[in-house]
Every structure is written in C-alpha cells, then in structure tokens.
C-alpha cells in the first residue's frame, strides 16, 4: 500500500523527469507513451490504495525535507478519504486528458516539453492533495503554479501567451503570499505544520487569530482558484493548449483553493466571520463570472468564466460549512468541465482553429459525437435536472438555504440568480456554436480518435456524477458525505423545502434556457452595447487594476531607480568624487610654474607658524 501510494506520487514525477531530461532523444511516440503511462500508472496505483484510505487513512514519510530547531517538514504523504477522492479524481481526469492530449498535440514539434510539464503538473497537484503538512502542500501549490505558467505560455512565440502565463503566475503568487504568512503563523502558534496536528489543536484558540489565519488561507485559495479579487488571470490563461485548460484551469489546479479550505476546514469552521467571508467571496465570484461569461466571444473564455463561477459555488459550499457539498461539486465540475474543455478543443479544431463563437455555428453537422458530448457538458453546467451538476449545485444552495439566517438567505438568492445566468450562458454557447449554419471559413479537419474517446467516460461521469452523493430525496444515501466522514453535512430539510428548492433550481434552469432559446436560436450579428463590452472585459477589472496597482507600482519602481538609485545614491557618491577632483583642480592651479608664487607659499607658511608660536608664547 505504501509503495502504491508512493508510486501514485512519484510516477508522474518520474515521467516528467524522463521527458524533461531525455525526451528529445527518445523516438517519436515514446515521450507520449511515457507520459500517459506514468499518469495512468499513477491512477491505477491510486485505485489500488483506495481501500486503505478510509478511516484514519494511509500515511508515508519518505524523508525529512527541512528541519531546523523545532521546525520540521517531512516529505510525508497522507491518504485520508478527502485526499483519496481528490487524488482519484486528479489522476483519473489527468489520465483521460493525457490521452486526449496525445491526440491533440500529435503534430506539435515540442510535445516532449508539453508532456513533461503536464506530468510534472500532475505530480505537483498530487503533492497538494497528498501532502501531510502545509509546507509540502505549498511545494505542490507553487509547483502547479509553475507548470501552469509553463503551459499557458506553451506557444511562447506569441508574446501574449507568455504574458498570460506570467500574469497567472504573479497573480496567484499574490495569493500565495497570504498562504505563506498563514503557514508561518500556524507554525508559530502550534510549533508544527502537520495538517492533522494543526487541525487537532485548533480548539480553544483565540477567535481573532483564527479569523485572521483563515482569511489568510482564503487569500491563498482565492489566488489559486481565481476568486475575487484575484481572478483576472484565469480568462487570459486560456491562451494555453486546450488540454491544459481542461486539466489545470478547469478540473484540478483551480480547485486547489477549495481543497485547501476543505483540508483546513476544522480550523476555518471555527471562525464564523471567515466562513461568511468565504461564502460571500464564493457567491460574488460566481455571480461576477457568470455575468462575464454572458458576453464572451471566445469559446474557451466562456468556459473559463464559467469555471470561475463554479469554483465560486464550491467556495460558497465551504463557506456555508459543507465540505461534502464542496467536494461533490468539485468532482462533478471536474468531470463536466474537463469534458467541456476537451470538447471545445475538438470544436476549435473542427472550426479550423477558430476560437470565436460568433464565427462558428452549425458545428452539429461537423461532428455529431462532439456536439453531443459538448451538450452533455453544457447540460451539466447549466444544472439540467438529474445531471451531476444539478445535484451538486443544488446541494450547495440547499445547504446555504438551510442555514436560515438573513445573510445566508441573501446568498442563496444570489446563488439561484447565478444559476439562472449559468443556464443562460450555457445555452447561449450551445446555440451559438451548434445551431444554425457554419459562419466561418470552410476548413475540413478530421479529429484523431484519441481526441474523442476520452470524452465518453467523462460525459458519463458528468451525467451520472450525481449518484456519488445522491440526496435522500432521490433515493440516494449521500455516499460521499459518508466517505468523507462528514455526516453532519447531510441535510435534514423538510420534504417540502426540498421540493421547493429543487423546483426553484429547475425553474431557473428552464428560465435561462428559454431566454437563450429566444435570443440565440438564430444568430443575429449585433453591435455590442456598452454593457456587453463591460462584461466582455470582465467588468474592466484589468483596466482597473492597471490604474490602481500596476501603474503606481511602475511609478514606484521608476522613482526608486531614477530618483533614489541614480539620483540620490549615485549622485551623492559622484558628487563627492567630483568635489574631491575640483579641490584637486583648485590646488593644481597653485602650482603654476612660477617660482615667485611658490616662494610665497614659504612666506605664508612661515607667517602661520610664527603667528601660532607668538600666540602660544603670549598666552
């Protein structure tokens, strides 16, 4: 078991290292095989040790990474139920996406780099998932950031791609700062960074401290999960290859923030304020992103905003105190969102590498299978009844509703409105892409099989993901909550309210669909209005941050450089040097070659000495 667990983590690393170091020297399909093999192997290993994950979980300490004084950070793995379910999802989805990527990247000359980074990403993600201490988790945390950076800018020849990668790295790093401080604080408080140890000791801590630390952790989570206010990087991150978007920016990395909060839930849950803030951030992000998604023109950006929005739901779930709801939505979302992304990749390929949905349309005719799969994904996203997405989202909203106070009521309302908008933009996307006739330039392109078949299992999971945690209402028994030992999460609402809630959900879904149907069934080219431009630009947050932060920052840098460094520091030094030289020049003028001048030096000197002596003698 221990070996299997270790293998789960190390196989992707090994694959990544092999590809990174020797990939270019291996014969053509080998890098792909190595990468896929590693990830699939990892998945199998994970499956293998799943059985031992229940209860206290399985733990391995490989070696001591850092130790100094009382500080000790091991490379230690912990496979508890939460980690296990997450690890399984990560490896599973990653395996499928790797397979997909093998098809997607088959013509790319740089595929070794791609697969190396992808493997490394899986390794880093698994590190987050499996780490038994915060520092190791942080290693994975930054590791996924780096891989994301490398993969977003994979097609580096285009400056914008590389810039998008950089933006992602830096913005998430702002969040990481909070995480780091939180980590330091936790260590200072508890003298350990072990996750279980911390969670075990939190009771009885000063509430303010807990609130602040929880908010710091939230900051970290916001950065990684593209939540308000650190969300601007995610839409730009779509510059990366589609499998990357599917894996990193939909299924796994962006959910790391949720995972972190779930991991630290015993701590976070102690602070009502922090919980409220988390819920608020989540729901506001959900709303914000959903509105933005309404106006996007690029297919992947729509999906990106929708990801942001869905992750917002997960935050909301954590914020209202339901880990299982969060994890439930995380899982279903992982399935249908990666499905959507990969299908979008297919669509883009079919449309002749065209991203703009206004230039698509009628894609249904080009590949029925892809259209079907895409629609499955969309239905899940929109929360069509009985799909995975429906159940998971519903659970979150129900939990929020169940809290009952005014704040949560308000959150519930926003959440349900967002659900409507979600339905609207989902069907907008569906209509724009698949309905009508093809509006772009004709460019037949057949899809490799590898790009299609991995979608099928994801579609199945998406559709039937609800079964994982089917509520009692529908005859389920909340398996996930049980597995996670969070039975407290299981709602015990009255049947009436359950029906009411489900009904409302179905209602908003239908409402959104109807509006989309009316408006987008037939493509009409419209001038984009002010509001849609505003939404298209993501509420102008980029411009706002540019004004608020980046320009003042550059100004500050310029001031430091030109003002302080060149002007003050160097100026002082050079001024001193110049003064010395000018004194030298003045003294130099005294030696003008004239003997009589020189003699006067004698006389003045003598007068000086004599005068001094005279003064002394008189005194």
């Amino acid at each position: 078991m221990i070996l299997l667990l270790t293998l789960t983590l190390l196989l992707p690393l090994l694959g990544g290292i092999i590809n990174a170091c020797f990939g270019n020297h291996l014969p053509k399909p080998m890098p792909v095989i190595v990468a896929n093999g590693a990830v699939i192997g990892s998945f199998l290993a994970c499956l293998g040790c799943l059985s031992s994950a229940s209860g206290d979980g399985l733990r391995v300490t490989l070696f001591t990474w850092l130790s100094s004084g009382s500080f000790q950070a091991d490379v230690g793995l912990l496979l508890d139920p939460l980690a296990a379910i997450m690890a399984l999802m990560v490896t599973g989805v990653a395996s499928l996406i790797h397979l997909y990527a093998a098809g997607y990247m088959q013509d790319d000359s740089d595929q070794t780099r791609f697969f190396a980074l992808l493997n490394l990403f899986v390794f880093a993600m698994l590190t987050i998932v499996l780490a038994d201490n915060l520092l190791l988790m942080f290693l994975g945390w930054e590791g996924v950031g780096f891989c994301s950076y490398g993969l977003i800018g994979f097609w580096y020849r285009n400056t914008e791609n590389a810039a998008a990668g950089r933006k992602a790295f830096i913005v998430t790093r702002i969040g990481d700062l909070f995480f780091t401080v939180g980590l330091l604080w936790l260590f200072a408080l508890f003298g350990t960074i072990g996750i279980e140890a911390i969670n075990g000791q939190v009771a009885g801590l000063d509430p303010t401290t807990i609130t602040i630390i929880s908010l710091l952790l939230l900051g970290g989570a916001c950065g990684k999960s593209a939540q308000l206010p650190l969300m601007t990087w995610l839409p730009d991150a779509m510059a990366g290859p589609t499998p990357v978007s599917a894996l990193i920016h939909a299924a796994t990395m962006v959910t790391a923030g949720v995972y972190l909060l779930c991991r630290m839930f015993p701590l976070v849950s102690l602070s009502p304020i922090a919980m409220g803030v988390i819920a608020l951030v989540g729901v506001l992000t959900a709303l914000y992103a959903a509105t933005c998604a309404l106006a996007q023109r690029e297919i992947k950006r729509v999906l990106a905003y929708s990801t942001m929005s869905q992750v917002g739901y997960m935050f909301l779930a954590v914020g209202v105190g339901s880990v299982s709801a969060a994890m439930f939505h995380l899982l279903t979302h992982a399935f249908f969102k990666s499905l959507l992304f990969m299908a979008a990749g297919c669509v883009i390929n079919l449309a002749g590498h065209e991203n703009d949905i206004y230039l698509m349309g009628g894609m249904r005719q080009r590949s029925k299978l892809v259209a079907g799969l895409f629609m499955v994904g969309l239905l899940c996203l929109a929360g069509a009844p009985l799909t995975g997405g429906f159940f998971s989202k519903d659970l979150i909203l129900a939990t929020a509703f169940a809290k009952g106070d005014l704040f949560h009521q308000a959150i519930y309302v926003i959440g349900i409105v967002t659900a409507g908008i979600t339905s609207l933009y989902s069907f907008r996307l569906g209509y724009l892409v698949f309905a009508g006739d093809f509006r772009g330039e004709e460019l037949p392109d057949d899809l490799p099989g590898l790009m299609k078949w991995p979608l099928l299992p994801l579609a199945l999971f998406g559709l039937f993901g609800g079964l994982l945690n089917l509520p009692h209402l529908f005859g389920g028994y909340s398996w996930l909550s049980g597995w996670l030992n969070t039975d407290t999460d299981v709602l015990h609402l009255s049947l009436n309210s359950e029906y009411l809630l489900s009904g409302t959900a179905v209602g908003v879904f239908v409402f959104g669909w109807l509006i989309a149907h009316l408006r987008y069934r037939k493509f009409v080219r419209r001038e984009s209005g002010l509001i849609s431009a505003f939404l298209l630009a993501g509420w102008q947050f980029d411009a706002f941050y540019d004004r608020l932060l980046i320009r003042p920052f550059r100004g500050l840098c310029r001031f430091c450089w030109q003002g302080v460094e060149v002007g003050l520091v160097d100026g002082l030094i050079e001024g001193f040097a110049r003064t010395c030289i000018s004194w030298g020049q003045a003294l130099r003028k005294m030696t003008n070659g004239q003997i009589s001048n020189y003699l006067q030096g004698f006389i003045w000197g003598l007068l000086l000495i004599m005068g001094w002596f005279l003064l002394r003698a008189v005194a």
Partner: protein
C-alpha cells in the same frame, strides 16, 4: 657692554628680511641670489653676536663654515645662471614655467 643682544637681533632680523624681500620681489635670478647672500650675512651677524654673547668661539667658527658653504653654493648658482642663460637666453625666472599643474 656694547649693545643689548636684542638690538643686534633686531638688526640681523631686518637684514634677513631685507634679503627675503629681495628674493621675493625680484624676477631676475641674479638679484634673487643677491638676496640670498644678504640673508646669509644676517645669519652671520646673529652668529657672531651670539658668539660674543656667550663668549664662545663656536659661533664664529660656524660663520666660517657658513661662508665656505655660501661660496660653494654661489659657485654652483652662478654656473647655473650661465647654463640657464645658455638654455633660454634669459635669467628671468618667469621664463621658467614650462612645468606646471
């Protein structure tokens, strides 16, 4: 007693400074050398006076050495004058300012 020692010192100081003035004021090398001779004579006067004051012969002997040294110096100086005159056709010290700075 002839005069107070002080008066003799006054005389020699005046002479010495007259010599110095000559050195400072003139630009003609010969006059400068003459100034130096005046200064050295003033020194001789002081020494002779001191010799009398202490009633010792050493002061006078020092004067002798001074004279000998002066003549040696004058011989070199005047040879130098000749040499300079030949170099630059001038004994004006203002003409010798090739090196400066």
């Amino acid at each position: 007693m002839i005069v107070p020692m002080e008066h003799l010192l006054i005389l020699s100081t005046i002479l010495f400074l007259l010599g110095l003035v000559c050195v400072l004021a003139h630009r003609n090398l010969i006059m400068i050398l003459i100034g130096v001779e005046i200064m050295l004579n003033a020194v001789g006067l002081t020494l002779v006076g001191a010799s009398a004051f202490w009633q010792q012969i050493d002061g006078q002997i020092m004067v002798l050495f001074l004279m000998a040294m002066t003549s040696a110096e004058v011989s070199i100086s005047l040879a130098m004058v000749v040499y300079l005159q030949r170099c630059k056709n001038s004994v004006d010290i203002r003409d010798f300012d090739e090196m400066r700075g």
